[in-house]
């Protein structure tokens, strides 16, 4: 499925340079108060791929993602989605929040359907759609539960299901698995990979975990310590046909993890 950069993939036979789903160009962000978060961040996010953003804590990963989502305006630079400059949120993008952002007064069903509700989809239709993703996210039986009755991992899955249910082409996920323990995290990674192989989406995925980035990504964007710029873009090229234990022991996987460690280490040691 994934090959090193030498292979340009089948799409390039039709067009010379396939248009990326998202193009991030020279993004600079200075927050009011003078904190500079981003310094000319530039990368492309190819269609149908999973791109991870990794970098030191507080370097500007969430900021980058929110600018792509159209939730924050950059101070300079531009985000293009399918070749069009982003001016705000759009139906082709859905956001998964680091802190879940679930409505505490609404049931799981209403929360999962809430993205569709805000987009004006009728009650019957949106609830049918929500139920489908509730099942896919292993939340069946919890339709009528409220967020405070769920574990952190389940809440995160509600947030994921809500983003999936609006059927956006581009998923922007901010540390979606940060709040779950290692075992469940690995299961989520499998689920995500499975879901993506079925649903064909382009994903930007922020994570703290190098192992996770290497395991799930087609492409990894490594950011420097803030103000962030792109230190390196790596394509791990992991063959994911085998079972997960095997993949995690394979030389390709281990090498990639080691390389990224080396890349990041210099920012951590400063």
């Amino acid at each position: 499925m994934n090959h090193p950069h030498t292979d340009t993939g089948p799409r390039s036979t039709a067009e010379l340079a396939p248009e990326p789903a998202v193009r991030v160009q020279d993004l600079t962000k200075e927050y009011p108060g003078g904190i500079q978060a981003l310094d000319k961040v530039t990368f492309d996010m190819p269609k149908g791929e999973l791109t991870s953003i990794i970098g030191p804590s507080g370097c500007g990963k969430t900021t980058t993602l929110k600018i792509i989502a159209g939730l924050i305006e950059p101070s300079a630079g531009e985000v293009m989605v399918y070749g069009k400059a982003v001016r705000g949120p759009g139906p082709e993008r859905a956001f998964v929040f680091q802190e879940f952002a679930l409505l505490p007064w609404a049931t799981v069903l209403r929360n999962v359907a809430f993205g569709l509700e805000l987009r004006g989809v009728g009650k019957k239709e949106r609830e049918d759609m929500a139920r489908e993703y509730i099942v896919k996210m292993n939340l069946a039986g919890f339709e009528d539960a409220y967020p405070h009755q769920l574990s952190g991992g389940m809440r995160q899955r509600v947030g994921l299901a809500r983003a999936m249910a609006v059927d956006a082409d581009i998923l922007l996920m901010d540390e979606p698995f940060a709040s779950v323990d290692e075992q469940i995290r690995r299961k989520f990674q499998e689920d995500l990979l499975h879901l993506l192989s079925v649903e064909k989406k382009s994903v930007v995925f922020v994570t703290h975990s190098i192992e996770e980035a290497v395991y799930v990504s087609d492409q990894i964007v490594i950011l420097t310590r803030g103000p962030a710029h792109v230190s390196k873009v790596v394509r791990p090229g992991i063959d994911r046909s085998g079972d997960s234990q095997e993949i995690r022991r394979s030389p390709g996987y281990l090498d990639s993890v080691e390389n990224i460690w080396d890349e990041l280490r210099e920012y951590l040691e400063e």
Partner: protein, 250 residues
């Protein structure tokens, strides 16, 4: 209430207090306190009387109109103060001053301007209730989790939708607390206003009973007003309890 480590039902503890009241009343130590049974008897004399009906009608009218205005103005003001920083800073000081000031003092001035009738009572209720409603609404709106707003925007919600689907519900626990306090203060306002005016409504009755030393009637009237305040605040409390499950986990 608990006694010897056992929970006592509220009705039971109420009964004990009534008994204590009865005993003190029968001992005739304080002439202000008639026996409880006397008060109960008076309750059945007072409430059907024409005097009471007239007083209750005008009191309720003043309360309802003043409260309605207080709710609308207080909620709108609180929302604006919470959502528009400049407006919040502009108004914050004044609202806080009025909220904590002894407003009773301005009722005579209102009387001088608006006369001895309904308008004075309405404005009194309004002034007593509006500030706490505005302040609590503001707190509720300001405390709305910003990531919920971002979530709404990310799914394309405009300001109106954000408000009606997210901000309103997120602020509801504080809003209801403000409404409950506002109701109680509004009721205080209408009674205090009438006592100062002394020629209308329940205030007139209080004046009448105490002047003629009709203590059972006086207490009966007080019980009616307590009962009304209790029921009004319990109704809001009922809704507060309905939202309390998420108030803690926002």
């Amino acid at each position: 209430m608990t006694l010897l480590g056992r929970r006592i039902p509220m009705a039971f503890s109420l009964a004990i207090w009534c008994l204590v009241w009865e005993v003190i009343g029968r001992m005739e130590v304080i002439s202000l306190i008639p026996p409880f049974t006397e008060v109960l008897r008076a309750l059945f004399v007072v409430t059907p009387s024409q005097d009471f009906k007239t007083a209750a009608t005008i009191t309720f009218q003043a309360f309802a109109i003043g409260m309605g205005l207080g709710l609308v103005v207080g909620i709108v003001m609180g929302i604006l103060m919470g959502r528009i920083r400049a407006f919040g800073e502009l108004m914050g000081m004044w609202v806080n001053i009025f909220e904590s000031s002894p407003l009773t003092a301005i009722v005579p001035a209102l009387m001088a301007i608006l006369g001895f009738g309904l308008p004075t009572m309405i404005v009194t209720v309004f002034l007593f209730s509006v500030w706490v409603i505005a302040l609590d609404t503001q707190v509720g709106v300001e405390r709305v989790n910003p990531s919920l707003i971002e979530m709404g925007r990310s799914f394309g919600a405009n300001n109106r939708i954000l408000f009606t689907r997210i901000v309103f519900f997120a602020a509801l626990p504080e809003l209801l607390a403000g409404i409950r306090l506002g109701l109680i203060r509004g009721l205080k306002g209408v009674i205090i206003g009438q006592l100062l005016i002394a020629v209308v409504g329940v205030g007139y009755l209080f004046e009448l009973y105490s002047r003629n030393f009709l203590m059972p009637e006086f207490w009966a009237l007080l019980i009616v007003i307590f009962g009304f305040a209790f029921i009004a605040s319990e109704i809001v409390g009922y809704f507060e309890r309905k939202v309390s499950f998420y108030a803690k986990s926002r």
